[in-house]
């Protein structure tokens, strides 16, 4: 037991040293890059994708039609097409969850599956909030799966970073969705987010006024603190809590009415 503990301690210390070394090299790479400026300039004419192995360019593999299909799917989603939503969930739910798990590991904070599912739900909610505003940024210049791959990682890292900066808040609010859904499980909102009717969630948010929608998005989806919301929206910080309580009531009422 003691030997095992010492071995683990030694391994942990070794990992720490390795991480510090990598951090130093990351910092140093910013300084040495200046010496490579001329080489970078000489590269500037090179196309990004000369090789196709092992990531075939969609353009080279009939990808144009696939991109058109992806754009059509996003267009149908933004119109509230329920079949499109089912298709999206079927095709991309697993990709987003896996991407969240990978991002958390890369962040040095591996998540258990239930936590990853919570974070996945937050990411999906952010994608569809405001009438699919974020998803509609997809322009079809890549496949939807590659776009989701990059966007999901960024959103996951942002939320993990917020939680690490303010663990007390994270402990108080283990999941924004849990809080929204209330003590009964699964709550209507969580059901919508995890289930097949996510388009109805967007409908619920759309029923809020513009100001309330902004606040809900900043708090639940972007992970902003009361102070950050106060600064961004020029509101008194002590008014954020009561306003959020009213928003929750309205969302619950709206979603509860829709769920027998």
């Amino acid at each position: 037991m003691v030997c095992g503990g010492l071995r683990r301690q030694g391994t942990t210390e070794k990992r720490r040293k390795q991480r510090r070394l990598i951090q130093r090299r990351v910092a140093a790479s910013g300084q040495t890059i200046a010496g490579c400026a001329s080489r970078l300039d000489s590269l500037s004419g090179a196309p990004a994708v000369a090789s196709t192995e092992p990531y075939p360019s969609p353009a080279a593999t009939g990808g144009e039609s696939a991109r058109a299909a992806d754009l059509a799917l996003v267009e149908r989603l933004s119109r509230g097409d329920a079949a499109a939503w089912r298709e999206f969930v079927e095709r991309y739910q697993r990709l987003i969850l896996t991407r969240v798990l990978v991002a958390a590991r890369e962040f040095g904070q591996p998540l258990a599956t239930p936590d990853a599912e919570d974070l996945t739900a937050e990411v999906v909610a952010a994608l569809v909030a405001g009438g699919f505003a974020m998803l509609r940024r997809f322009e079809g210049r890549s496949s939807l799966s590659t776009w989701l791959c990059v966007v999901t990682r960024r959103m996951a890292l942002r939320r993990l970073s917020v939680r690490r900066r303010d663990p007390a808040r994270a402990a108080d609010h283990p999941s924004a969705l849990d809080k929204l859904a209330g003590p009964s499980e699964p709550g209507p909102l969580a059901t919508l987010i995890c289930g097949e009717d996510l388009d109805r969630l967007a409908g619920g948010l759309d029923q809020l006024g513009e100001r309330h929608r902004q606040i809900a998005r900043l708090f639940y989806l972007d992970g902003c603190t009361y102070r950050e919301i106060s600064q961004q929206l020029d509101m008194p910080v002590n008014s954020i809590g009561p306003t959020l309580a009213r928003i929750q009531q309205r969302l619950r009422a709206a979603l509860g009415e829709e769920n027998p």
Binding site: I22, R25, V26, A48, V49, R105, E106, F107
Partner: protein, 112 residues
Amino acid sequence: MNPQVPDILKLLSWSQRLAAGEPCAECQAWREQSPDAEWQWPRIALAGEMLEAGLARDEDMEQTAEDVAAWIDGGLDKSQAAATTKSCWQSPAQLAEVASAASFRAESTLLA
């Protein structure tokens, strides 16, 4: 353009092969012959090590997510692609983001 010059995605795929314990003669030859290898390969290796060591961070990237995704799929025009390439070489975080996405895509392709 010299067709022998590997781009970032090619270098990342070589890096992944080596990390998996597979031999890569092309990579070895490039590292021995190309003057660029001296400064490019350490950055490629560093990106992989950052991800492996759990050092990825939420940083403001110069490139938008849309541009990065399009760059990976070859959907950018020449000047946009060049800007993204340059950004990858300048920013370890940007290169790590691309490495992460490329690795994920490669694994997904293998699983598909």
